[in-house]
């Protein structure tokens, strides 16, 4: 019918225009920085009030924060999800954990930052450091990992568990040898999403773990570190125009990392949904 064709055309034009604008912006930002990326840019320290040198400490720092965050959120998140889907039957604790997870997922990242400041930096005395920032990011990413793992575990057919139990395996053996391995690939997808979020996160790091400008590597986890997103913030909002080439290069590097992660997630998801369809 004519009206359907008009609706489809109209809605299609809007959707594709939107997508084109976004693609254009991403491409623009990635390409703008490409000229400034060189091996030297990637592996040297910033020099001369950030106008020369590179982003090596920010790359390294991002990696430190990420490692600490995952060290906390992957085990706690996956085990919490295992509890939710395998060990709890409609109990009070289950409802509490589910509700807590939903609420955590909605809390703004800057509020996690304040919590991290108050608990890790001040109460525990870690100060502004890699461990304060990393743990803060870890707590922030907990709900991503729990929700996704919970979903993956519930997708494992009941017959798997029954077959394993029927063969004489106990609960732990069934859970950790059968159910978790069966959903391993989907759990990993969730972890990659969390990695993407942690890598791009800025606000909570500003007052828990970020150094704006360092000229040597932190000597341990109780020292602050630079990170790529905070570096981008500092270069664009605090330093004058003459650092723009460095800013463009940093944005490019961060976008390339994040886009790679999210494309890999998209590919994995597509493969998983094909597997389900058989």
């Amino acid at each position: 019918m004519l009206i359907d064709r008009i609706t489809k055309l109209f809605f299609g034009i809007i959707s594709y225009t939107l997508v084109a604008v976004i693609l254009l912006m991403i491409t623009f930002l990635v390409v703008a920085g490409l000229d400034n990326i060189s091996l030297e840019f990637l592996v040297s320290f910033p020099k001369n009030s950030m106008t020369e040198g590179g982003i090596w400490p920010s790359i390294l720092g991002t990696f430190y924060f990420l490692s600490i965050a995952l060290l906390f959120s992957v085990p706690v998140g996956i085990l919490s999800a295992v509890y939710l889907s395998e060990y709890s039957k409609e109990s009070r604790l289950q409802r509490l954990v589910l509700t807590a997870n939903n609420i955590l997922a909605g809390i703004p990242s800057v509020v996690f930052g304040m919590f991290g400041l108050s608990l890790f930096s001040i109460t525990f005395g870690f100060g502004t450091s890699i461990i304060s920032g990393g743990l803060t990011l870890g707590i922030m990413s907990l709900p991503y990992i729990i929700s996704n793992t919970h979903e993956s575990l519930t997708a494992v057919p009941k017959s798997y568990r029954e077959a394993s139990m029927a063969l004489g395996a106990n609960k732990a053996e069934t859970t950790f040898r059968i159910v978790v391995p069966a959903s391993f690939s989907r759990i990993l997808t969730g972890v990659i999403i969390a990695v993407g979020r942690i890598i791009g996160e800025t606000a909570p790091l500003l007052f828990t773990g970020a150094a704006f400008y360092i000229t040597r590597n932190p000597s341990g986890i109780f020292e602050p570190a630079m990170s790529l997103p905070t570096h981008i913030f500092v270069l664009s909002a605090i330093y004058p125009e003459n650092v723009t080439p460095k800013l463009e290069g940093s944005i490019s590097v961060l976008l390339i990392i994040v886009i790679t992660l999210f494309i890999s997630v998209a590919i994995r998801r597509r493969r998983e949904s094909k597997k389900l369809e058989g």
Partner: protein
């Protein structure tokens, strides 16, 4: 024996993990509230919530959050006005009109869009969009960093969220409803607007609530491009300082244990309360959906 011990210890282990998760939530409330309420030792409740004067670094410091709150409202309102209609149209196109290949392609771009770090959007708005705005509306705009610029960039963050959640809500409508409508001779367009959307309305409302919650809590974009002025905006081209921007901008330099420090924590409590209300409302709505 060993097998039974392993069985028992893994039960203990997962329960501990679950307890940690719930403790974290209580910890966040505890730490924010216990620091936040101390501001009321120095400032009256009414001055904090109903004064628009936020001058924490003045000699006679004032801590009224009304202007900050109005900044958050202005930016959130304009972002919703931009991103909900566009997200809605794209979600309908994805759910009802696109073929598989087009669907997969569009979906991929929306997923990428959701992955753009907010600091990158902040930087883009600060370095480029602000200049374009000055050139485009030279009469009206006195600063490129304003509500409009921040809302444009926030819309990029919020849109994929709306698209995904609204599409899910539309797809959750049973297909026989749609088929019945088509079989009665209705065209696809009126089926969408008269049958599918009304049926999906609680899912759509849920999407809007969750999306709004995210926009309110977004920090980097508003910190970098909302302008930072503590004033109640009169036009969309006025600069503002939303709640999250005040926290992120001032927390780094504040003296621990000062009134300013506690005031910032109280703002954190306000944000926490807002997100709690939104999330619980969304959860209620979802439970209601499942029941019928």
């Amino acid at each position: 024996m060993r097998r039974r011990r392993l069985d028992l210890s893994s039960r203990v282990l997962v329960t501990i993990a679950a307890l940690i998760t719930s403790t974290v939530l209580f910890g966040i409330f505890f730490f924010l509230i216990s620091d936040g309420v101390r501001v009321f030792g120095k400032i009256s409740f009414a001055d904090f919530f109903f004064s628009a004067r936020w001058y924490p670094t003045y000699e006679d410091a004032e801590y009224g959050i009304l202007a900050l709150l109005s900044g958050t409202l202005a930016v959130t309102g304009l972002t919703l006005a931009i991103s909900i209609p566009l997200g809605f149209v794209s979600a309908i196109f994805l759910a009802e009109f696109s073929h598989r290949k087009a669907h997969d392609f569009l979906k991929l771009i929306f997923e990428l869009m959701a992955g753009i770090p907010s600091v990158v959007l902040g930087s883009f708005g600060l370095k480029y969009v602000s200049k374009w705005l000055m050139e485009f509306f030279p009469m009206k705009v006195w600063t490129g960093l304003n509500v409009f610029n921040a809302s444009l960039m926030l819309s990029i963050l919020a849109m994929p969220y709306f698209v995904t959640l609204i599409e899910d809500a539309l797809k959750a409508v049973p297909v026989d409803q749609k088929e019945a409508s088509l079989a009665l001779g209705a065209n696809t367009t009126s089926t969408i607007f008269r049958v599918i959307i009304p049926q999906a309305r609680s899912g759509i409302l849920n999407a809007i609530i969750l999306g709004t919650n995210r926009i309110i809590g977004e920090t980097m974009v508003v910190l970098m491009i909302a302008g930072g002025a503590t004033m109640i905006p009169r036009s969309i081209f006025d600069p503002v300082r939303p709640l999250t921007a005040a926290i992120a901008g001032e927390m780094g330099e504040v003296e621990l244990g000062s009134t300013h420090y506690y005031a910032l924590f109280m703002i954190g409590v306000v944000l926490l309360a807002i997100s709690l209300i939104f999330t619980v409302t969304a959860m209620r709505l979802k439970r209601g959906m499942r029941r019928c």
